[in-house]
Symmetry: C2
DNA sequence: GATTGACATGTTGATCTCGACACGTCAATC
DNA sequence: GATTGACGTGTCGAGATCAACATGTCAATC
C-alpha cells in the first residue's frame, strides 16, 4: 500500500489539503507515484481514522489542511527502513521501450522520436526546477538523479533512431506494417 | 490496458502457454511489467474471444499454447504507434528514493545501501544475460539500456551513502529515530 | 509404489485505481 | 451583477490486480 506512504511523505515535507496533494503528486512526485483526488480524499479519511494524520487547519471553502501525527511519522520511518521494498514494476513507458524493438525500422524510429521529444521536455522542466533549488536543498539530489537518468534515456533513444538496428524476429509476419 | 499489450508483445516474440507467460513476465519483462497467473489466464481467454490470439497447440497437462493472430499483430502495432503513451507512474522503488531524503543520515545510509545491493545484483544478472546474447540480437539494446540506468543509479546511491547530505526538513520532528 | 517438485489451469473475494458525476466557494474580470 | 476559472471535497461504478484457494499431471527420485 504505497499510496498511503506517498501521502505521508508529502505531508511530512509540507502540511496540505487533499487538493494540494493531488497537485503535488503530479509535480514533485510525478516520476514516482500518481494518484487522483478520488483516491486521495478517501485515503486521507482512513489515515485520519488510523491516527496517522490530523486536521491542523480549516480554511475557506471547507478546506482541511492535514499534517502528520507523531504516529504517522513513526509509520513513515518504519515503512522506509523496515519494510522490504516491492520491486515489481508496472511501467507503460518501459514496456513500450521493450516492445518497440518488435516494430519495423520506420515505425520504431517514429515511436522513439516521440519518446525522445518527451524526455527532452521533461529534462527542461527538471533543469528549470534545478535552477530554483539551492544545491544543498533536500531534494536537489533527486532532481539531479532524474536529470542523469533522462540523459541516459535520451542518448539511448538517439542511438536507436540513428542506427535502426536489427529487424527483430520478423520475417514479414510481425507487427511491421 | 497495458497488460493486454504486454501479453501480445510476449507472444509476438514466442508462442507460449499461460504458465510460460507468467515466468517470462518476471524474466525478460521484469523491469517493465509484472502480472501473476491469476490475471494472465482470464486475460488470455478475453484475448482469444476477441480474436487477437489463438490456441496453436495443446500439450500434456491440458496445456494450451497461444500465438498472435493477424489481428493481434495489427492491434499490437496500432497500440505502439498510434496510442498516446500513459506516462503516469507508480513505482515503489522510485518513491523510496524520493522519501529516503526525509530520513536521518543513519537510516538513510542503511536504506540506500540496501538499494545499492539490489542494483548490483540486478546488474550482475543483466551482465550474465548480455554475455549470452549476440550483439545484434533484437533485445540486446534493451539489456544495454538496463545496464546504463543501473550504472547511474549505483553511482547516485554511492554518492548518497558517502555524502549523507542535508538532513531534510527535520529539526527533530521528522521520521528520524 | 510413494513422495516430491515443477508444470499447468482455473476461480474468488478483497483492495486499488480511475473516470465521471456531483456539489459548492471565492476572486477577478467583464 | 454575471461569468469564468481555480479552488475544494466528496461518491460511485467499472475495471485492474493480488493473494489465497482449488485441482490435477507428469517425471524423477527414494
Amino acid at each position: 500500500m504505497s499510496l498511503r506512504h506517498a501521502i505521508l511523505g508529502l505531508l511530512e515535507r509540507q502540511p496540505s489539503t487533499g487538493y494540494e496533494l493531488a497537485r503535488r503528486f503530479d509535480l514533485s512526485l510525478a516520476t514516482a507515484w500518481h494518484a487522483s483526488h478520488s483516491q486521495i480524499y478517501p485515503e486521507l479519511s482512513k489515515l485520519e481514522a488510523a491516527g496517522l494524520v490530523e486536521v491542523v487547519a480549516r480554511g475557506a471553502r471547507q478546506s482541511k489542511t492535514y499534517a502528520l501525527t507523531e504516529s504517522g511519522r513513526d509509520e513513515l520511518r518504519r515503512w522506509l527502513v523496515e519494510e522490504t521494498p516491492d520491486r515489481s514494476q508496472r511501467n507503460e513507458g518501459a514496456l513500450r521501450l521493450f516492445l518497440g524493438q518488435l516494430l519495423d525500422p520506420g515505425d520504431r524510429q517514429a515511436v522513439f522520436e516521440r519518446d525522445l521529444d518527451y524526455i527532452e521536455e521533461q529534462t527542461e522542466q527538471l533543469r528549470a526546477l534545478q535552477s530554483v533549488l539551492e544545491p544543498g536543498e533536500p531534494f536537489a539530489a533527486q532532481v539531479d538523479l532524474g536529470l542523469r537518468i533522462n540523459a541516459v534515456l535520451a542518448a539511448w533513444l538517439a542511438e536507436q533512431v540513428e542506427q535502426p538496428g536489427p529487424d527483430g524476429e520478423h520475417d514479414g509476419r510481425g507487427p511491421a506494417r
